[in-house]
Symmetry: C2
Subunit: 336 residues, 2 copies
DNA sequence: TCGCCTCGTGTAAACGTTTACAAGATGCAG
DNA sequence: CTGCATCTTGTAAACGTTTACACGAGGCGA
């Protein structure tokens, strides 16, 4: 079955293709009767404008690109779910693109990349751009909203990572812990990703507030994965003087850590208190104390901002901060 | 910065646009020297074909659509991750589309929907099509591969749900349980989704094998969500004669059930054994016994099949079954 | 030397819209 | 009745590619 074109509709309605286009796209200056007739015929013929032709002529793709590292992680999935909700309602398609290696990232940012010409706007999730890439992105002229990380000159939806990490750590200290570990993402990544750095800074600030020392031996990399968290906690527990509590930069790492700790015969929270970060769906079932952020809502809100930018309703970048909340559960308690 | 067109490249190279197109797309019959020169100039001008123009002329979108119910669920996220991996390597974009309500679904299947014209192929995840929709989908002529569910006439990547559920239930019975509950998805959904029906049938077959009765009062709907699983187990535990074990159709429901059961003072596995289904990343950390399926791998494999179909390398639908495996952990044990 | 095949390239017609501009029709004020 | 807005519609030029077909040049066997 070859699809009907706008010409078929025009012929059948006895008008020109221009009128059909105007009628169907809801433009002004079409006689009500004509519009109605055209609508009816279009429905009969099951006509829908050929997307590519329409996009070529109008220059709008009605598609938004979402770029995130490491698909399959809970965080990215939530953002996708939130974005999809808003985009579907607004008639946009959602293109997802994963960048999980520095290589990938460089390719994405190169001018010929960045989904150039394929999207009307970009949602950048936890994606940090090196200074040399920021310029190219601006030149491309595509509206951008970042989530999690921030990129100079673009709208953003973030949380106060330092304050959140500080509050989570403060909770641990308040319980009476003195020897506190940190499960980071990839400590080798260096300045590639500011978010972990901010969280580390918050962690350290809380320790300093309490006059506690920050022992570098108690920092371990968990790569933001369940397995990585398990590996990291194992490393910490085999220290000669292991921590009595640990702050994890993601709930997935925290849950991995709890699982492994228990396998190693370490009682949680008896021998080790664990505090996570994210507000994962399963945190409640796991009894995990966590610094919860409204990820799905952030995805929705960021998408609304992006659509506003695409529609030209935004004159300046909009920066918003979501509120986080410490949810105390059974994985944290005073030390023995 | 307005982007370079193929005409700019042609002019600069002193050839026609046709030659540029052929050279850049790797077609035959272009003199090596010419091709090299054109490549160089294209790189200098940072030229890349305008996607919409290219798609309009060639009829290929180099985009694959992935349709799944309920984004934010672990299963869908894994499939996306697997698909993305293959698609990125093959140069395709990935468009995701969520259908979570019957309404949504109907709209998707209507001929004007189905991402018509926007994708070269479709990956349908856990999506069941009513008979009246199947025809429309075939008429559209778009290659389709289904994952999880099966749709008449299209390639599929599934597991043997009945056998898997039967094996999982058999494991429970072997431990010595006699009163076994079932946490289903949405029992009201009826025939809308065959997968839960098959799993229910497998569950019942195992009971029958052992001469046990299937008590309808021990079936509860968990909506495939963490919270739903929690709610369902609460319902089961307040039965006058509660089960000593429960089989859940997804790990998320199982973990939700375990969390709630423990909150209610019910020991798992002491008072209640719980067996899940999926092989969730967190199942290990949770100590959850589960029927594990290689979801990410299934996503990858299905995508390979889809690409083969798009390339016309498939003369008949290809049906593949992935192997599942029971992974026994601490959430299941003999009854007290 | 002739004819034919191959190779490299150009010409121009799609692909199916959107939209600036022109033009005809209609209504109303003067 | 005239002139001028206002509406409605049509004409035609983009939008930037891909590709069928034509064409000329060169090589080669007879």
């Amino acid at each position: 079955m070859t699809r009907a074109t706008i010409h078929d509709v025009a012929r059948r309605a006895g008008v020109s293709v221009a009128t059909v286009s105007r009628a169907l796209r809801g433009h002004a200056n079409v006689a009500p009767a004509t519009r109605k007739r055209i609508r009816k015929i279009a429905a009969e013929l099951d006509y829908a404008a050929h997307p590519q032709a329409s996009r070529l002529a109008s220059g709008r793709t009605m598609t938004v690109g979402l770029v995130a590292p490491l698909f399959g992680l809970w965080y990215a999935g939530q953002v996708v779910a939130g974005a999809d909700e808003i985009l579907a309602a607004a008639g946009y398609d959602l293109l997802v693109h994963s960048v999980d290696t520095p290589d990938n990232r460089a390719r994405f940012f190169s001018t010929t990349g960045a989904l150039r010409g394929r999207v009307d706007g970009l949602l950048l999730v936890d994606l940090f751009a090196a200074p040399e890439h920021v310029g190219a992105l601006h030149e491309a002229g595509t509206p951008v909203v970042t989530i999690g990380e921030r990129i100079e000159g673009f709208s953003s939806l973030t949380i106060d990572n330092a304050a959140a990490a500080r509050a989570a750590t403060h909770h641990i200290i308040e319980l009476g812990h003195q020897r506190i570990g940190l499960i980071d993402g990839d400590p080798e990544a260096g300045d590639e990703s500011p978010v972990p750095l901010h969280r580390t800074a918050g962690f350290q600030a809380a320790l300093a507030d309490a006059g506690l020392v920050d022992d570098a031996a108690l920092h371990a990399g968990g790569m933001f994965s369940v397995e990585g968290g398990a590996h990291a906690v194992e490393q910490l527990l085999t220290e000669q003087e292991p921590p009595t509590a640990v702050f994890c930069m993601s709930d997935e790492m925290a849950m991995g850590a709890i699982g492994r700790a228990r396998e190693l015969g370490c009682d949680v929270p008896g021998d080790l208190s664990v505090v996570g970060f994210d507000g994962h769906d399963l945190a409640h079932a796991f009894g995990l104390t966590t610094m919860s952020q409204p990820v799905r809502g952030m995805g929705k809100r960021a998408t609304e901002t992006l659509i506003a930018a695409i529609d030209g309703r935004l004159d300046a970048p909009r920066h918003e901060r979501a509120d986080v909340e410490l949810v105390v559960r059974k994985s944290s308690s005073p030390p023995r």
